[in-house]
């Protein structure tokens, strides 16, 4: 249970970090919170020859509102989202998600961007980023690029992030008071990996849903939006029949993982239930 030897770098600036990545990218790895990478290294499933530790780059440690967006720097840790990071609907939504992430000591180290870079199918933040169509700001010595989740998540623990690239910032669009949110997750034990989860973000006008974003995670190899259910919800009053049908659509739409934790049939059932719970939460607030 000891990692293989590696070279250790602790850059103080983003420029220094992306220079190191350009130099060591194929053999190297960014170390942020380390709550997924270090266990994998201890098991020797991951054997990076170089670690580029970004924990000493103060410039990456921020969460701030700017230009209608919540900007989350690469060092913002999960625990920071346990209480609202700002005012407004989005800032109130994130604590309800954050409490499902691992346990307190894990939340004190692990980072929002690190979760997105790791792309575990059971990651709450990956689901949030997908549901809210986050902008992912990526940097390398080759330049900067911004991508959306649908062109980023490529499968379990697999993304389109290149070895020389740093996921520097996540941007979530702020939600005004006409939006309602809901989040539901099922795992067998507190803090355990989710077997299924759902996020619902709805805009209401005069009691009708005028915009719907529904995301499902934990059940398939990557989080996804359920377009057919969003279409059903939009224009409706979000009544019990609609909510029930949205759950059915989501359960059929996904391609569930099958592993020792849950069969595909069970995962579809969980998705159905989580979607209904998330929608009901959003609609009753």
């Amino acid at each position: 249970m000891k990692p293989v030897s590696f070279r250790y770098f602790a850059p103080r600036s983003v420029d220094e970090a992306i220079d190191l990545l350009a130099e060591h990218g194929e053999e190297g790895k960014i170390l942020a919170g380390g709550q997924s990478l270090v266990p994998a290294m201890n098991f020797r499933l991951a054997r990076p020859a170089s670690l580029i530790d970004i924990n000493r780059i103060d410039a990456l440690d921020y969460v701030r509102e700017d230009g209608g967006q919540l900007r989350i720097g690469a060092l913002a840790r999960h625990a920071r989202f346990e209480t609202p990071v700002a005012r407004g609907v989005l800032a109130a939504f994130l604590p309800r998600v954050a409490r499902h992430i691992g346990h307190l000591p894990i939340r004190c180290r692990g980072t929002f961007c690190g979760s997105i870079a790791h792309a575990d199918p059971a990651s709450e933040w990956c689901l949030v980023a997908t549901t809210l169509n986050a902008e992912l700001a990526i940097m390398s010595r080759r330049g900067r690029r911004n991508v959306r989740p649908n062109e980023y998540f490529a499968g379990a623990l697999t993304t389109t992030l290149q070895p020389d690239e740093l996921l520097a910032e996540i941007r979530l669009g702020l939600l005004d008071d006409s939006w309602r949110t809901g989040f539901a997750e099922f795992s067998r034990r507190a803090g355990d990996y989710a077997l299924a989860m759902a996020a619902a973000v709805l805009r209401l006008e005069d009691g009708r849903i005028v915009d719907a974003r529904l995301g499902v995670g934990g059940a398939a190899d990557r989080p996804s939006r359920i377009a057919a259910a969003e279409a059903l919800l939009t224009g409706s009053d979000g009544g019990p029949d609609i909510v029930r049908e949205a759950g059915n659509i989501a359960a059929e739409a996904i391609e569930p993982l099958e592993d020792i934790h849950a069969s595909t049939v069970y995962r579809r059932d969980l998705v159905r239930a989580m979607v209904r719970r998330a929608l009901n939460q959003a609609l009753t607030r």
């Binding site: 000891k2 293989v4 250790y8 270090v38 201890n42 670690l51 307190l104 180290r109 507190a190």
Partner: protein
């Protein structure tokens, strides 16, 4: 083997400099290089919480942090809880309320609880139960650990 590096940090108020390989975990550094064997290692992959210590007042799994990352940090371990021959209120409460049996998980639980109560001295029982679920204990069934931490919290608020 990659080169050893100097790490200078404060452990329970004492400044120490150790020389370690980058792959040395903080847990191993505390045990092997500082001689502080109160921090226990259970799973070594961040599940059991036996190795929980406070780094700059935050509870962390010391098996998931490299010692080199703690350079300049303030680390507190179970050895730093008692002061002047007197048990810390948490330790006394674990004794009084049978918060331990074999004792293997106890240092981790004590440091986790210390971290929790420093964040929120008035933490309510349901939230405390949730927070304590971070660590594993195979003896007590957790109920007495919960009881102990609640008693200590009460004592520390007085």
């Amino acid at each position: 083997m990659s080169e050893k590096q100097d790490v200078t940090f404060t452990v329970n108020g004492d400044k120490r400099t150790i020389r370690v390989e980058p792959r040395r975990s903080l847990a191993d550094a505390l045990r092997e290089d500082c001689g502080l064997t109160g921090t226990h290692l259970g799973c070594e992959h961040g599940v059991c919480g036996a190795c929980t210590v406070l780094v700059d007042d935050q509870p962390v799994r010391s098996c998931l942090m490299f010692a080199v990352q703690a350079d300049g940090a303030r680390v507190r371990t179970v050895e730093g809880l008692a002061a002047g021959g007197k048990l810390h209120p948490l330790q006394q409460a674990f004794w009084d309320h049978h918060g331990l049996q074999c004792g293997f998980c106890t240092p981790g639980f004590l440091m986790l609880a210390a971290g929790i109560l420093e964040r929120d001295p008035n933490i309510a029982e349901p939230e405390l139960r949730e927070a304590l679920s971070a660590n594993l204990c195979r003896c007590t069934g957790y109920q007495n650990i919960l009881k102990s931490v609640l008693a200590a919290a009460f004592e520390m608020r007085r």
